[in-house]
Symmetry: C2
Subunit: 217 residues, 2 copies
Amino acid sequence: MEKIEFVLPGDIEARSFDIIEEELSRRGIVLNEEQKPVTKRVIHTTADFEYADTMLYSEGVIGYAKNLIRQGADIVTDTNMAFSGVNKKVLADYGGEAHCFMADADIAEEAKRRGVTRASVCVEKALEIDKPVIYAVGNAPTALIALHEQIEKTGRKPALIIGVPVGFVNVVAAKQLILAGDVPYIVNRGRKGGSNVAAAICNALLYQVRKEDQEKA
Amino acid sequence: MEKIEFVLPGDIEARSFDIIEEELSRRGIVLNEEQKPVTKRVIHTTADFEYADTMLYSEGVIGYAKNLIRQGADIVTDTNMAFSGVNKKVLADYGGEAHCFMADADIAEEAKRRGVTRASVCVEKALEIDKPVIYAVGNAPTALIALHEQIEKTGRKPALIIGVPVGFVNVVAAKQLILAGDVPYIVNRGRKGGSNVAAAICNALLYQVRKEDQEKA
């Protein structure tokens, strides 16, 4: 039986990231320096090294995303699980707010009345927010498809799409829509992803911004 | 580029489970009939077939867990993310309630005052609940270790442990503690797991109970 090591709760994360770093290096995987904190946090959240091969970043997206956060961008998630996972305190320190409209009673009513999906009403509501929006989709490909449709139809766009829905139906195709579009993205190609992964990506960006600003101070 | 298939939102889940079934069969994996709905829902949540090999169930745990739900057992989770993911409506239909004490102000205060971890104060509080408790751990091995310590120290036990923390430090060892104990368990051995996996296991049990009861009615 493995022994429980005594590691202070605050040290577990740093220790985990060291182990991930070692294993990436043992596997001969070299990540882009800017993207590394994000990919590593996704691996930390899933214990799944496959993400080192499948995470896709649009050109320059990390610097761009960090600036969005510094400008007080909001984060909209497709599920309450992803919403719970986002570090709303750090986001608020930069003037941003997190939202998830999915379970709101008025969303369900409006979707029913208009005969459309709740996901598409959520997307409309998010695109009406009068500041830059990071749209993080961890669960439903439907949300990514609705996002693509609204962008095509209205020309309104989120500032950044985090597209990591998980599953077996329309997930791969929905991600391809975002990869082919012109909104900056962080996407995990293939079937894998999840609300936990979406939250981990948001948090990796938030923590990176905080770390850089603390180092500057 | 893959085409988006038109699948009604309500049909996506059934379709996904069919795809999982086909792929399991193509991989020559035969799951125990009782455990299958749980393992399949975990694969549905993660798109990761590795869980078919690593999910461990104590003898007879599925029938036992379904009876716990029918008796109105509560579910305690270690994180708000897992809490958000549990279907609290179905749980309430059977008289159960979901709890997550982790972010409660009094937990933090008490932990600080006594110089112990928040996880261990949460475990104590959970074991004081005056009805059967399903303890679902998706994030922190610390919660499983605290659970083991409290059981050893007080003899109080949860009715069932869902032990699927994820990570690189003490996760494997913490799961081994639960596997070696005498509380019925559902555990994913190794590093993988997560709050989403913990919620998926709870929901698989809840949906199975509802389905069986609907079929009987």
